[in-house]
Symmetry: C2
Subunit: 638 residues, 2 copies
């Protein structure tokens, strides 16, 4: 039977599904919960999903007409219980069709941000024109703003100009204007207006997160994250670059359009939820790695993929959002942060302005863990950066039961080294599994995988090379198709109707990722001529939930006092938000992006050797002197 | 039988044609010559015409398929011999289907223009990136330009950035960049490039003229003019504003799109003829009256139409051509000149920087004669401006046999006051009609009408009120449907198969136009407190061909020494071209536009009274003391 690739958004769950299966059945198979009151009888209309256009859309059947109008149909809406899988497909499960809303858990920086947005509002009352004073609308406004606010040499965006005549009359010559950077009028509204909104966007290889902020007080009024729709063209940056190169006719255009469409859906969703219109967004800031940056802007990323990996541009840019096709206010600017070098892009600059290692004396390592891992090391004297392909394992992809950190995900695992019994904790539940009647696990998120791997190792179920001990005396060890896997949750403890396991392949994928990170950090330390780190900061959504001790057991990063290892959440997104709220930070970002020295890891001497060693658990060249008591002893006694 | 309004472009010929007539028959009826080798048998394919979409398109018949492909069909192409008139229609006769190409005769200023374009080209050779020097493409270019040309703080247009990576590799790191105003890179090309092109556009209410210039040497390499396609929505500015107001849902959009489409056709045509691509146009400048300016930019013109007539903006603007949908280089700017006041717009500013009355001591009157007449009066001490609705009569419209100044148009007329015999001269022929076997007249252009009217008056065929002398003893005076008309060319002297006449209605229409101009000038003189003009400059395509003496006989403008009355051709277009070639002149334009004082004629005391008097031929309050001998005597002896 032909199978097709099916990906559900926003959960990111994926799998190969036999043709003819309904979307609802596929969702159940993959642990995606879709609302379905009638149980698939096609008469409740609760299971509406949207299928990505351009892919294979199933035919529309009679009963669907009761729940889906023509316009929605054209957008790809179908009933999950009626639509059959007929080809590879990317399926969006709209919020209202989800049994449980996905929690946006990219945490937010707690440091206060000094408010100095690029946009300022000015209210003014104009005298209407007369035959004695027939001055034109814009010139009249300009004169008034110069007199009242000393704003001189103001320009006006063409699209904003189109609104002037009607707004002036509607507001009876009382208006509020939004001025960008003190130089360009980008909006004019009748009467007095006090609030104005901006959107900070973090475009990750796998996940796109957005923060809607009120620019008057800096408050976040909405957050939202979705999967980067480019995943259907390749899961990591190199495969997307390859896609563009192998599809010279339309690859770049498709990739670009896909993220633009995704952002437009995100914008619509986040504004609707806040009772705003997408036109209320007057400025955007964005971060992303260099490939995401180029693809968003429709710049050919081909040369990024080969040595010496030069980007098309380093410095930050202010582009009219309309030039990219972003559906916000027609005069809004998108400020995209600068790029450091190679794949270390605007996202890492975001991390830098959020964490400010260049203001510190301690030697710090910042690891931004995503599909592409980015590392910064140094202090106020010197900063170096590097990137490494960690793969999507830490975001729950390429893990058999992997899922994003959403309700139902196993985030903590403990294994008894004697009995091999397992305790786990699921996101959304306060208690551990044993205290709950039905824990309803749906998968394992990144932090759960790290915990699980560390525990498998501590319990001796896998050895330091990551190999499963095949003769383990436990019903939890199963051999499927000749390959071992270890049961974390029994069928009755899950909500997906089957056991949740960690497989040999899962272990290998995590080893590859953690080996890449470790090697990078190690080579950077050598470059800086240092033996020890004072501080390790884990950034990225994944970093927020990770247990620093488990990560160190695995050898994700070199030795550091555990008290000085901490997670800061989505620091790249924080950086985007900081630059949205404070224009001075944009200058700081451009400055620091030029100063950071980029290390191309793959051409460093010993890269291969170091990488192979770093795949081991733990990295044995590194005796972890700071690990507390038991953990350290256990490792050393292996 | 139902008749429909048919307008042919670019000749501007129009008429009411019975439904069912073929386009070819209609063309013959209206004196438009369309190539037709087979004589309408539908088998030569020479008579292809394009019908304006949105209007009534005739059905496509089988035989047309041999000559018109699907794409062309969708664009509105039909065979003139096959397509029947079924509704009001605007028909473009493509150049290749015209028997005789329309002559572009808008003459060009002879004064040399100092070359200082906004665009400069810089050639540079870059060192390719290496792992030791992995600087990004734009930053590398910027550094090289700063070192070699001392160009600092350069920005780059987003669309130009998209081209950088490929162009650098294609040019093997040798590139030429185009920099706008010394601040923004708008193009980059491989290798050394020396020529760059710009387009100056004059958007008249009836005619759009364009000049394609090489910015390296300032030479005009192509000129082209077409009818403003907005004519189908109204022939003068007020009727177009009314159209927008009465069609709030899409009137503005339609009007805007119509001129943009027209400009795109013009751009394609003029570049193709010069073996260039439309993307070779790197900058545009435009002039037009205030209504044309607003409609081009899609600004609601509603408030322009009511007192105190304020425009949305006075000062000049630089807008990305792509924002208007103009198909030129994607990074090109459109510089649109500033507006004075009321309808006196960027076109008049163009006239001002071309003629520079603000540099002169003499008291000068500049009349820019178009569908909307614009007047400037003054000298270096003070300048005032005004506009008046002259109607389209001077451009050949609303005249029974009116046509634009193209081959076949009668441009000179003499009438013997004793015999009433007529001599005329046709554009494209050196000799007068009597010396040619078949003069092949097709109509009368504006200068011919002025000549004809002056001669009708001098011969006593019309009186000073413009009324025909019905008892004239001449076979040339005919009474049709009770209305008199005077035969200028007999049937055998024309190429349209019938007599060409000047009718009572033609006389009235010209009287309205000339009365408006005279009244405007008179009220302006009163405002300036002057009795006499030192100089009269006739601008506009029409002004080029007019006989100053005939114009003064009719009383188109107040008394002035005839030796100091001269025509300068399309001075507004010259202004657009000057600002394309010299950026300093743009500043001068903004400055002078603010200084000119605008007079709203219609609210001046005595406007109505003056206007009614000014309709007379000549204006009797003005004894024309400077008219030479015979003409003066004749007038005074009336």
């Amino acid at each position: 039977m032909t199978k097709f690739k099916v990906i559900f958004q926003p959960s990111g769950r994926r799998g190969d599904i036999p043709g003819g299966t309904t979307v609802l059945e596929a969702a159940r198979e993959l642990g995606v919960e879709i609302e379905s009151v009638c149980g698939g009888e096609r008469n409740c209309g609760k299971c509406r999903v949207r299928l990505e256009k351009g892919l294979h859309l199933p035919p529309f059947i009679e009963e669907e007409k009761n729940f889906i109008n023509d316009e929605e149909r054209a957008e790809g809406y179908r009933l999950a219980c009626a639509a059959q899988i007929r080809g590879d497909v990317l399926i969006f499960v709209p919020e209202e069709s989800r049994v449980q809303q996905q929690a946006v858990r990219k945490s937010l920086m707690e440091k206060p941000i000094e408010l100095k947005p690029a946009l300022s509002l000015y209210y003014t009352e104009l005298s209407p024109p007369t035959l004695q004073d027939p001055l034109g609308d814009f010139d009249r406004l300009k004169k008034a703003l110069a007199e009242r606010y000393n704003l001189c040499s103001l320009d006006i965006d063409y699209q904003a100009l189109l609104r002037l005549p009607d707004v002036f009359r509607k507001g009876n010559w009382k208006v509020t204007v939004a001025v960008w950077m003190g130089e360009e009028i980008i909006d004019v509204k009748p009467d007095k207006v006090e609030d104005t909104y901006g959107l900070a966007i973090d475009i990750g290889t796998t996940t796109v997160a957005a923060y809607l902020c009120n620019l008057r007080n800096g408050k976040i009024i909405g957050t939202e994250s979705v999967m980067n729709p480019q995943v259907i063209y390749g899961e990591d940056v190199m495969s997307r670059i390859t896609y563009v190169m192998t599809h010279p006719e339309d690859g770049l255009e498709k990739m670009h359009q896909s993220i633009v469409d995704g952002l437009n859906r995100l914008i619509q969703k986040i504004t609707e939820r806040c009772n705003l219109s997408s036109e209320d967004i007057l400025e955007l800031t964005a971060v992303g790695n260099t490939a995401m940056h180029h693809l968003l802007l429709k710049i050919n990323p081909e040369y990024l993929g080969v040595s010496p990996f030069p980007p098309a541009i380093h410095r930050s840019m202010d582009i009219k959002a309309r030039d990219l096709g972003l559906k916000v206010h027609p005069s809004a600017y998108l400020h995209i942060l600068p790029i450091e070098a190679g794949f270390v892009g605007a996202d890492n600059v975001g991390v830098l302005i959020a964490e400010e290692p260049y203001q510190q004396d301690e030697m710090v390592l910042i690891i931004d863990i995503g599909t592409n891992g980015e590392l910064v090391m140094g202090n106020r004297k010197k900063l170096i950066s590097a990137s490494c392909a960690t793969g999507p394992a830490f975001e729950g992809a390429h893990i058999k039961f992997g899922m994003r950190a959403a309700p139902g995900a196993i985030e903590r695992i403990k294994i008894d080294p004697q009995t091999f019994e397992v305790k786990f904790k699921v996101i959304g539940e306060e208690a551990w599994n044993e205290e709950i009647k039905n824990p309803g696990a749906m998968g394992i998120c990144g932090s759960g995988i790290i915990d699980g791997m560390a525990e498998l190792y501590r319990a001796g179920i896998i050895d330091k090379s990551g190999r499963f001990k095949r003769d383990l005396q436990s019903p939890r060890l199963k051999i499927t198709d000749g390959k071992p896997e270890f049961v974390i949750a029994w069928k009755e403890e899950t909500a997906i109707g089957k056991e949740i396991t960690i497989t040999q392949q899962d272990v290998r994928n995590v080893q590859l990722g953690k080996g890449a990170l470790y090697t990078g950090a190690k080579l950077m330390m050598r470059r800086l001529g240092i033996e020890k780190l004072d501080k390790v900061i884990l950034a990225g959504a994944f970093g927020t939930y990770i247990d620093p001790e488990a990560a160190m057991v695995l050898g994700m990063f070199p030795d550091c006092d555990l008290r000085n290892v901490y997670a800061v959440g989505n620091a790249a997104g924080d950086g985007a938000r900081i630059s949205l709220l404070n224009r001075d930070k944009r200058l700081e970002a451009d400055e620091i992006a030029r100063k950071v020295e980029y290390i191309e890891l793959t051409v460093e001497a010993d890269f291969q050797k170091e990488f192979i060693e770093a795949m081991q658990i733990p990295h044995m060249n590194d005796p972890f002197p700071h690990l507390k008591g038991i953990v350290k002893d256990e490792i050393l006694n292996q």
